[in-house]
Symmetry: C2
Subunit: 401 residues, 2 copies
DNA sequence: CATCGTTTGTCTAGTGGATGAACAAAGTTT
DNA sequence: AAACTTTGTTCATCCACTAGACAAACGATG
């Protein structure tokens, strides 16, 4: 009792075709017979669907596999090189672009540091990176199948950027801009949502269906994977956890509210507190996440205390998240995740002390393993997925003989 | 690219049959022809599915409708009286049971006040209420189709009650107990989840798909309707918003954490603050939500201040919820909702001042319109839904001639 | 009141896709 | 070499939806 769609044989075929392809993607090498047993479909059905997928070059036949006491099976392989996808993480002070195959393997990567640029200047840098990546793509049947961009701001359901405070953007239609220039399918998504998707597909979240990805950078954003799917909220702007109040009568935030989480647990907060400490005198260079990390490594107590404090407040917010969502996994990503070793002890101490026992059950808390690539990989995966879906679910492909 | 189910014609038929039934339920009177056009199915298909539904007595033919220039249509009607469902709201100090038809109309209702009873005594009262309701049910083709119970505690995915602090329950398998006694389908669900479902089906949430239901009673629970479906979390215990920290260094809560929301915004908190005020002297009777409300109505300033304070802190938590979920609607229910007029001004003031403008867009905030019936109606609806699904999706019904 | 056009609902032949069984091809085991 | 296994294709069959024909029922019109 859920869908309002009408069902007919065509839908059945498409769904089954998608199921077969998913099975091939999930199992690096698999025979038709194995697909039939694992999907429950008839051998003949599998054969005909596989034939179509072969025609579309989405899969390949590789040589015969090992016999298990009879005829040797023909092994099938997902043709991840039939197309390429581009994912861009548009950060506050950097742009990171990756070229991936359809399985999300990084083939090419390009990063530029930026600071205080206008919208037009950023656009130029963005185009430059995308152009480079397009040129570097090997030739393939489908070429570049799409471009995805992750941005640190509020993106609505039409993929318009309503607000990106740290970039000083307001009401920007980046999607149309890119569509006009490249004439390719474009995806624009919030950075945290994309990161969550990246971790779910390629990172430590691979095997979980209820994941909360906490992106701790200059601000804090959260991406929600609920029941295996990205939850976007009514208009597309869920996950504004950064502005969750954790001190009702705390300091005033730029958002208008009081005691927001990101005032206590973000990179912004770390730098703010560092300014007021004695670190400035110890350090002759600039205060930044990296330099403070180096000081902590060299045994500087003040630096370690600063991270401890961030860790504690990360724990406060994550504890709320755990109580609210009862997730399987919480993943901490983005820049701050690089300081994992300095944050983890105080963070875990707080969480273990404060969380409800039944919520801690079956819960893992991880730092991102994709380094700072979660977002770029996530948006690249969006484009790749969209492409694959469009191939499988395309309208009745008439055979024009 | 989502389901891992194999598709065949039987599935198509079941889904279409469900679609036809849904359409009939949604439109109080509708003809076969109208169903065909509104679902996109063929007239013949609709005819044969309707025939099956008639055989199963799930729908009825009522007389001919109005002609629109040709043959008069035969109007079809959902047979809501083909079975009855029982829903029980097992509160901390009351038990409320309702008997509803399959559409959720209340046919019979019974409430008992309880206090400080043992598990066995509560069970006895519960059985008594259910027995009364079963006896009062009119005769019908399918009789009682199921019993649902909403409880103020943590319910896991197997519907076992892990913890109900205010009832002093731990690891209770109420579902099995009821199944053994009544031999009927039983649903045990968290009170807030059930309330959310009730509001979504019968209350002010009828037309929205992303609803956050905040149940403010002795404690605070939250039920989440995300993308039109109840979200339960990994193990079934999401929504423990009551233990969301809104003052990181606030008072110690019984849950082990600090500064939990329900210490500031629940009925418990209201009574606690009332104790410390001068109300005790003003009032000769007992301090309770009702008596404090009466004082507020009579113009007592202290009482109004107490509600103001609760309202403000409700606003703090709801503001967090808005930022996190970007819902279409927030509904405040349970006992505290009866004090709506005293809470609303300070609550809304806080929310309007603090929330992000783009989150306020398209958002409505309501107090429950079902009075205190949300939970009972919600669990009754669960049972009714389950029954209808089981009829439509039953295994290939072979005709044993 | 007869005729025509319209709408409703049923019926039948046809279509698309899944299924099961038969079968050939290509192995392994004895 | 013979017997058994496993793989993958082919083909007849089944099942549910579809299109279109058709009869029944009704309003409008002359």
């Amino acid at each position: 009792m859920k869908s309002t769609k009408t069902w007919n044989q065509q839908v059945v075929k498409q769904e089954n075709k998608a199921l077969v392809l998913e099975t091939i993607i999930a199992n690096s090498q698999i025979s038709r017979a194995d697909i039939a047993t694992s999907t429950g479909l008839n051998k003949g059905t599998v054969s005909s669907l596989v034939k179509e997928l072969l025609d579309e070059q989405l899969i390949n036949e590789v040589g015969p596999g090992k016999s298990s006491g009879g005829r040797r099976p023909v092994m099938l392989l997902f043709n991840e090189l039939s197309g390429y996808s581009i994912g861009v993480d548009l950060g506050v002070n950097y742009i990171l672009g990756v070229l991936t195959d359809l399985r999300g393997n990084i083939c090419q990567e390009k990063k530029t540091n930026i600071s205080d640029l206008t919208y037009e200047e950023i656009l130029e840098e963005l185009f430059a990176i995308i152009d480079t990546l397009i040129k570097s793509a090997p030739s393939s049947p489908y070429g570049i199948v799409g471009i995805g961009v992750g941005v640190p701001g509020i993106v609505n359901k039409d993929q318009k950027i309503l607000l990106a405070p740290n970039l000083n953007w307001k009401s920007i239609d980046l999607k149309s801009e890119l569509e006009n220039k490249y004439n390719l399918p474009i995806v624009v998504e919030n950075e945290a949502n994309a990161g969550a998707y990246g971790e779910k597909n390629f990172g430590v979240g691979k095997h979980n269906d209820n994941i909360i990805y906490v992106s701790v950078g200059i601000g804090i954003g959260v991406g929600l994977i609920l029941n295996g799917e990205l939850y976007r909220g009514n208009n597309g702007f869920s996950g504004e956890f950064g502005h969750m109040a954790i001190e009702a009568d705390g300091a005033k935030c730029s958002c208008g509210s009081n005691g927001c989480w990101e005032l206590y647990a973000s990179e912004k907060s770390l730098l703010f507190n560092a300014q007021r400490s004695d670190l400035k005198e110890t350090l002759d260079g600039e205060l930044s996440l990296e330099t403070i990390m180096k000081l902590a490594e060299s045994g500087n107590d003040t630096a370690q205390q600063l991270f401890n404090r961030i860790g504690k407040y990360l724990g406060v917010g994550i504890n709320n998240i755990i109580n609210i969502f009862n997730p399987e996994q919480v993943i901490i990503g983005n820049q701050m995740a690089e300081a994992a070793q300095w944050l983890e002890p105080s963070m875990m101490e707080w969480i273990e002390e404060q969380s409800l026992w039944f919520s801690r059950k079956d819960l893992t808390i991880d730092f991102s393993g994709l380094q700072t690539h979660s977002t770029a990989l996530g948006v690249a995966a969006f484009s790749a997925e969209n492409f694959i879906s469009s191939k499988v679910f395309q309208e009745n492909n008439k055979y024009a003989l």
